[in-house]
Structure formats: structure tokens, C-alpha cells
Amino acid sequence: MHKYFGLYGKAFEKVRKDHSQLFDDGRGAYFRKSSDFLSNRNNWYVIFLLVGICFAIPSVFNCEFLNVITISEKTLNILVDQRTTNIATIISISLVVVGFLINNLAVKSPTTYKLLFKKSLLYLTIYLTLSTIFWFIVLSTLRDTIPPHPFSKSVVAGTYLSLFILILIGILFRNIIYYTNEKEINSMLSKELIKEAKNNLRTILLKKYSSKIYQEFMSESGLKRRTYDMNLEILFSARNVTNDDLFLEESNTENRYLKNVNLAILGVLLKTDFIEEYEVLTLGDLVNIKSLNFISFKAEKYEGVKKWLLKKCFHTSKKAVMKEVSDDYRKEFDSKILQLAEESKHKSLSQPLSAFIELYKLQMLHQNENN
């Protein structure tokens, strides 16, 4: 959570305040985020564990609402096996239909597949089903090991899960049928394009404001900004500069990406008056934290503790941060427009073009050069 304080937090607040349109409005945002998370291809283990927990909780804790149904031990044994086969059947039929529908996708491109899988909750449905089957099989194998009471509760919980799976499959069919319609896909793509652009804009603005805030903060503390006087003498006598030096910044292993700056501590440190000049920093920049070369010191006052504290102000990481400016959908649109123009399909052209107009509007609203 530390990232919501310090420089990052301040920049974030400013973006949030001045560019509120770039953020999802509160309602539904969390739901959307969590459903996006769950339908991510790589998050299968989360679903698997969640299903496991769903099976386990009723058997350990007594949940009143599950006690409504009374099931005798005999039916229970049949029920476990039946549920397993039920779900297996349903999922196999569903997969066949899904396969057929995907085959008939109106616009076939990696991006639309990606979009389809995300929007239809396909991964979520399949992972959920497979996990449920897994746990049912485990449960039916252990039917003589587990005491009857928790066992019956788990089976009931599993039955509820199966019902939930049915609903998900329903949603899957409902959504996937849209994808046989080109217009639907295109409007969805346009939405995604704008969403991608908004995401990128947020990052870009965050960086922009971070350097602005940092500069304001430093100059308010009475520091001078470092200037480079590029006069001829330096150019002529720059004798030791080699090609390696020019690429040093990227290759230097001591360089790390700036994640955040703790302005509170930095402010206190600045009052002790040992810094002479500073360079403007932007979050996501590569900085050399060991030498702190972006700050010049008044030599005599720069000692151990302060040095240590100052270094602690700058949080960095080895992994690139705030670089996730993605352009998958932009690329998709670019190539699509070019292709449509080449094939002279003027009727289909207007939609991607109007998406670009939206993009321009967004850009002019948030990145206007006059502001």
C-alpha cells in the first residue's frame, strides 16, 4: 500500500482529480476487476483453491442455509457419482458447441480471440468446471473416510456449485453468440481500444505529474535545478566518451527503476540544508541509487546517516515499472484499416475510423498542448 503515499500518491491524486473521466466510476468497477482477474488464463490455481474452499467450508463450519435440504445417506452416495457425471456431460457438450461457435467467429484475429475469451468468461467456466469435477472425484473416493455429516454438507455445496456452473455456461452461450456478428465485435473492439487508451493515458499522465510535483517540491524547498551548459569547450574536450558510455544508462546494472519517492522524509532531510542542486525525476525512470547522481551535495555536510536516509527515500525496483503502455488494440486497428482500404471495403471502414476520432477526442481532452 506504500505506493499510495509519497510522490506516487500525490501524482495519482492529481490525475484522479483532474482527469476523473479516465477512471471507471465506483459502482461495478470492483466487480469488473475481479471478474477480469478470474477469467485470466494464468489464474487457474485461484479458482481451483476457491472451489476447494467452497467444498471444505460447509463441512467444517456449520452453515445454516445449507441445512435446509435433508438428504439420507443412501441418496448421498448416488448423488456424488451422479453430479460428477452430470457436470462432465454438460461441459463436454458445451465445449463442442463453443468450439463450433469459435469456428464461426466473424472476425478472426488473435485480438478478437483474446477479447472473446475475456468477455465470455470461458476460462473461468472451464476452470471452475474442471475443479468441481476434481473435487467431486476426490469426495466420492473419500466417501467412506469422511464422517457422514461433513460429507453430506460438502456434497450439497458441490451441488450448488454445479448449479452455478450451469448459469455460467448459459452466460457463455449468450455472450459467445454475439461474436458471430461482426458489428458486435467491432463495437466491442472500439470499446476496448478506448479502454486501452485510457489506461495508457493514466500512466502517461501519472509520469508527467510526478515529475512536475517532484520539481515543485524541490524548488519549494529552495533548491536549484541542475543545468547543463552545453558550451563548445565541453563538446570539444569530450575526449573519453565512447559508444559504451552513451548506452551506459541502459546497461548499467546499478540502475534501477524509480517506483516512488518518500516526500515526507525527504522534506525533513532537505531542511538540514546539504543538497545543492537536483535533477528532475520521473517515476519509472532509471536511476542510479548507489551514487545518487541526480542530486549534488554540499560536500561537507553529507554524512553517513543522512546518506543512508536519503537513499531510503527513493524506492526502486529491478523490474520496469509504469512502462506498461500497451498498444495491442491500436495495432489491430491500424492493420485493420489498412487492410480494409486495400480491399476497398468502404462500408466496414467507418466504424474503426470513428473509434479513432474518439481516440483523438480523448487525447485532446487530456493531453492538450495548450494546458
Partner: protein
Amino acid sequence: MRIINDPSDITNGIEETIWASIEKTVENNSLETFKVLNRFVLDVLVVSVQNKSLINYNKYVNFPASYYYISFARSKESIVFHKFFRYAVETSARQLKEIITFFLVYKNTDIEEINEANLSLNNDFLYSTFNSFNRLIYSMISNGDKTFFSYVLNEFDNIDSLKKNSYYELKFELRNSSTNDGGIEKKQKLYKHVKLFDEYKRHLILGLRYWTLFLYNVGNNPIETTMIFLKELRIQKDYSELLKDILFLRNNPNYNYFEWSVWDYKERPLDKMYSPPNSNDWLTFGFVFDILRVKDIYFDTQNLDVRQLNDIPFLYERIKDFIEIIDKDFDKWQPILELDSKREFEARCKKINIFFKNLLHKSVTAKDKAIAAEELDPEKIKDFKANVAKSWEANSSLNAIFLSKKNMKENEAVENFIGFRTFFQNSKIMFVKENYQTIYNIDIFGGRAARWIDDDFFSTVISEEAYFITKDNITDLIEECFILLKSKEISPSIILLPAAYSFKDQKFLNNPDFKRKYDFPDRREDKFFLGTYKSVEIYISQSDVITNKVIIADFEKAFEMEYRTLENGFNQVLKIEVESIQNDEAEVIYKEEPENWTFTHKQTPMDKDEALTLIKNSLNIEVGTFYEFKVKDKESFVVGIINSNIS
């Protein structure tokens, strides 16, 4: 199309995709697709205007002009493309017209409040759009393409047909009102912005018209085509503005105004340096052509400002040159000049000569009288002194070295004045309030006086019977000098080098014994300090006297400077005086050499009164110091001479 790749712009590169797509549609001759894409371009342009985003606007505004460019080539290849070509040309002209007419009108609220920021932004949009139009017509002229020329020009004439953007009334109002009118300043401020619309429109046509003439002159376009072009590229109603326009355009600070500076008429070989034809020349040539076409030359010369008047002598010179060119090749020019005979041509030339000679005279008198009558403005003198002092300080290394080493001695008897006292003609103009005008680079006075200090010092030192050492390269030379000084048990404290050594001799600069200035953080500001060699300080000097010479010395021991303190001087040493010339003094100057004062600087004759006025517009300016350099001890310095020229 993309100029800068900016990843922090989310629309980055879209215009390239669109342009590539448009090229594809031209290739495929698919008009419908082209229409859709063009619609998009138009939409972006409109959205950009609405959101005041000039950057995005400029990405697309030249698209219409380029439609012509790519479709013309195709239409030449095959008749099949003709329909497309026609549509492309007509659309681009119409669209540009519509954008200007409907979207780039000065807003009423901006006019009422005189919102300068918005007005000038609107002007930027206008300029970009007009420039696109300009490109379109320029391409047509370059191709000698008459097909749709009159259509395009007609669209151009129809720009702003409702006259929403024209402010002629305001102009006449301003011209006829006296300066005492209330609110006149406001109106002037407004007019400064809104006049640009008309100006762009007029200048665009003017440039293209004169370019057409140029192409005819170099033989690129045949006479029939030229005649057609000229007929369409009419000069608008305000013929009287022509002189003002040409004077403005000849001195336009915007070097690439309407891209004139890159217009060219032939393919150039890639491996040779070249520059396209000078726009000032062909513009002036066209102007000469136009004034030859009218029967009686008349221009309103009331409102020309000083800068424009100043250019008149030069303009007149060029006019004479160009008339000669036309005269030599009269047969070629007669048909388009629409003159009946050579005699008529000569009669017109005569009229032009008379007109400009009168104008020349006029350009001298009125203003000069006003300036002569004015008092010097103490503020301006203060500024001047500060500037001169600054450049004086920045140009003498010896002055700085002596100041830092402190071997200076005050002596009221010093007579050696290093500097100058000069009678500076026409300089009063920069010290008065009303008719003020800057003269550039006047602060070099300070620099000159400063460099003479260095010169004086070095000639004093070198003329002494000093020890000379000659060597081929600088490093050896310094070493040799060190050895010599060491033998006399003198430890050097300074090395004086010519300024060229601060960058020229890499061997010396890379010598491990040499440390650069930037290794001494506290001395970065010191302009004359170059670094150290074996921890002896090195200073550089601009003086010509020590080219190829080096002086190594124990500075404190060897040299001394005596100086006179001046009460009012800068740093109490530098004298800067500005004196105006009084009536009787002017008489004296005139009487000394009356023949110098028979012609104005613009080569028209003048009488004694005018001459006295001019003399009084000059000033006596004195800049300098009383310094005397002395060599205290001949033994403690060495002069080294480098044999080879550094290269």
C-alpha cells in the same frame, strides 16, 4: 508524415496509417473508400479546431494538398484515374475553403474581449490551412497543370464569401483616426491580429503569382500556361498595399513563410550542395513586373514605418537590376507585360525611377528631424552602458587575470588610454524615447576595447627583450619553457595560450598532465580559465598578438599593471561616455568636410539644413580604460613560439 515519434501520445502514428490507406485507395482507384477516409481527415481537422489542438491539426491539414500530388501522377499514367483525380482536386480545394470559411472565423467573444491568445491561435490554424492551399496551387503550377486551375482558384476566391473575417473597415477607421481618440489602442491591438487573415490570403496569391513569373523566366512553363496562371492569380483589390507587402516580405523574419524558401524548379543532384532560388529575388522580380504593367505608378507611402523606409534604397537597387534584365530580353516579356512598344516600356521605367527617387528622399528627412529634436533618454544610456560593460568584462582575459592576481597599482598619472572615442553616425536613434530603434551588436564596442587591452599587454611583453623558445608543438614547447624557468629557479604560476588551443590540439588536451576546467567545479564560471598543466593555471586570450605564441611566467613577479581610477567608471576603471552633438559643434563638423554631407546615406542630394540634422543624429561615444602594463622582471617569464600552424 510523422516528424517526431512520441510514445507518450496515444494517437501517435495514426496519421501514418491513414495516409498509407489513402495511398492504397488511389492505387486501387477506389473512390468510395477514399471518400470515407477523407471524411475521417475532415472530422479530425474539425475536432482539432474545436479542441484547439494545433499539433493534431497540422498532422492532417496538408492531406488535401497531397491528394492532388499523388492522384496527378496516376492520372497521367492512365485515363482510368481521371475521375478519381478530378474528385480529389475538387474536394481538397472545396474542403480547405469550407474549413476556413466555417470553422476558422474569429469568434465574436474573442473579438469583443480582444482575447489575444485565442486570436493568435486562430491565426495559427489559418496559416496552416492557407499553407495547405498554397501547397496545392504550387503543385499545380509546378506541374504546369491547367486542368482544374481555375476551379481551385475560384474556390480560393470564395473563401469567406460572407466577409465574416475581413476587417477592412477597422483598417480605414484606424488610418483616419488621430492618436488621441479614445480606445484607439484597443482597436490597434485587435487589428494587429485580425489583419492576418487578409494578409495571408493576399500574400499567398502574391507568392504564387511571382513564382509563376519566375518559372516563365527560367523557361519551365510555356507562355500560354503562364498567361492562364497569371490571369487566375489576380492581385486583390488592394493594389495600394503592394509596396507595403513587398517591403514586409523582403524583411520577413519568418524565414520559411509559406514555404517559399524551399520552392525549387528543377531536380538537383543529390551529391552536391545547392540552395533553392532566393525568395526575396523572385518576389522582387515579380513586383517589378507588376509595377511595369500599370500605367501610372502610385502607392500610398504614408504609413510606411522606419524599417520599411530603410529597405527602400536596397529595393530600388534591385528594381533597377531587374528592369535591366527585362530590357535585355524585351521580346520575351512583351506579350505578358501587355505593352505595345518599347517606347511605352521606357516611359514606364522613367515613372518608376522618379517615384522611387522621391520616396528615397522622403525616407530620409521626416524621421531624422524628429530624432534630432529629441533629448537623450537617460534610461537608454544606462542600458547601453551596462551592455558595453558586460561585453567588455567578457572579452578581456588579461583584465580578469590582473584583477584576480591583484598585482595592480593605482596611478593617477597614467596617460595610456586603451579604447576609442568615435563619432558614431546615426546612432542617436537608439538613445531616444519616441523614435527609438535598436542598432544591433552595438555592445561590441565593449568587446573591442577589451581585446585592445590584451593586445596592449602582449605587445608590451613581447617587445621586451624576453627569452624566446621555438618548438614544433605546444606540449614540447611548454616543457622546454618550464626547463628554462627552472634553471633560473623560477616557478611558473601561469600559462597564457591563444584561444584556439581550447579545442584545436587534441594531443595537448588529452595529455595526462593537462586537467580540464570541468575538473575544477568552483571555476566553471571562469571564462578565461582553460585548466591546469602540471598544476600551473592556463588562461586563454582572444588577442591576435599571441597567435602561435605562449607566455609562461611567474605572473606576480614578472608583470604589473598601473591604472587610473575613474569616479563614474564601471568598476571605477572603464570609461563609457555618450555625448550628443550641439548646434555649434555640428556647424564645425559640417564646415570641416562639407563634401561629406552632400548626399544622404540613401544617396539622394541634401541641403545644409538636412546635413546639420543628420550630424546632430550622430553621437560621440567614448569607451576605454587608462591602463599601463609594465614588465617588472624580464627573467621571470618566457615567450614560446610554435612553429607549425595548429591544425
